[in-house]
């Protein structure tokens, strides 16, 4: 226990670690530290995989997922497919603090965030727009579809299921390690 307190986080996101540590040092709780640490990554767009302006979906929109868990109370707040709100971990904290639910998603989560005082704004940037344009120019490759027509390994959608289902398509497709959850 002499090694406590401890802050541990995935990847080399140093400023997030520092922010969490400083939160503890200034008297904040472990939950406060997680919130502030993750929030720094959202602001800094850590390696493009956190926060606004990164990893757009097929339609070019950046959406955010976040979760925070209090291991003392076993309480959780989480948000999935959050649209137009930059501070996803902040919204997750509000769900933890102000509801008895655990997970809110999509457009309704955005409405909840707005009611909690978060600003709604476009999450796309020139970078995310360029990523999306390049993907479209490359016939929407790679993508996550299978067993649909037109052939998703060659063409963009819209896709639909075929009349006869082909067997043998792998259920797993290796992902780009630079775009991670």
């Amino acid at each position: 226990s002499s090694r406590l307190p401890l802050v541990l986080n995935t990847w080399s996101f140093k400023n997030a670690t520092e922010a969490a540590w400083q939160t503890l040092a200034s008297g904040g709780s472990a939950v406060d530290a997680v919130e502030n640490g993750c929030a720094v990554c959202e602001t800094e767009q850590c390696d493009g995989s956190v926060g606004f302006g990164g990893n757009p979906d097929e339609l070019g929109e950046t959406t955010l997922d976040a979760m925070i868990m209090d291991g003392t109370a076993m309480d959780v707040g989480a948000v999935g497919d959050l649209r137009r709100i930059k501070n996803a971990i902040g919204v997750a904290r509000k769900i933890l603090e102000h509801t008895t639910h655990s997970l809110l998603v999509g457009e309704s989560a955005t409405k909840f965030a707005e009611s909690m005082g978060f600003t709604s704004e476009d999450l796309s940037t020139n970078t995310s727009k360029a990523l999306h344009s390049n993907w479209l120019a490359q016939n929407c490759q790679p993508n996550y579809w299978r067993k649909v027509i037109p052939d998703p390994s060659k063409y963009c959608g819209p896709y639909k299921p075929p009349d006869v289902l082909k067997q043998g398509t792998s259920a797993y497709k290796e992902v780009d390690i630079h775009g991670h959850d």
Binding site: S1, R3, L4, P5, L6, V7, L8, N9, T10, W11, S12, F13, A16, T17, E18, A20, W21, S29, A30, V31, A33, V34, G37, C38, C41, E42, V50, G51, P56, D57, E58, T62, T63, L64, D65, A66, M67, I68, M69, D70, G71, T72, M74, A78, G80, D81, I89, S102, V105, G106, H132, W135, N143, Y144, Y172, E174, V175, I177, H180, D181
Partner: protein, 141 residues
Amino acid sequence: TIGMVVIDKLRHTAAGTSTNGLKFKIPGRVGDSPIPGSGAYADDMAGAAAATGDGDILLRFLPSYQAVEYMRKGDDPTIACQKVISRMKKYFPEFFGAVICANVTGSYGAACNKLPTFTQFSFMVYNSLQNQPTTEKVDCI
């Protein structure tokens, strides 16, 4: 994605994640990050863990919950993380993923699944034995 685990001096645990998910995902897709027990998990009675990688695979195994359960049974955090990775690897040898684990005494560890393009995993540590955040690396298994 960032996954974070914090344990304070009083052994209070917390964990969290934040991500914008996979590039060019099908709209509406959500990965492991917002799923308790998958993206992260914390329990003051044992420890905390967080996962990162391909959320479509990770969320099927609740790796963070499983790692905390291994630590509850007495496994060292590194062993707990490795066991979780090994379990997923049995089903998906080529999956992309890593897990960080910490127990309530302040011991910590990490593990990742070795791929041709992913042989080491970097993570950050800051504890009372250090005066600054430190990057540590583990060799994937």
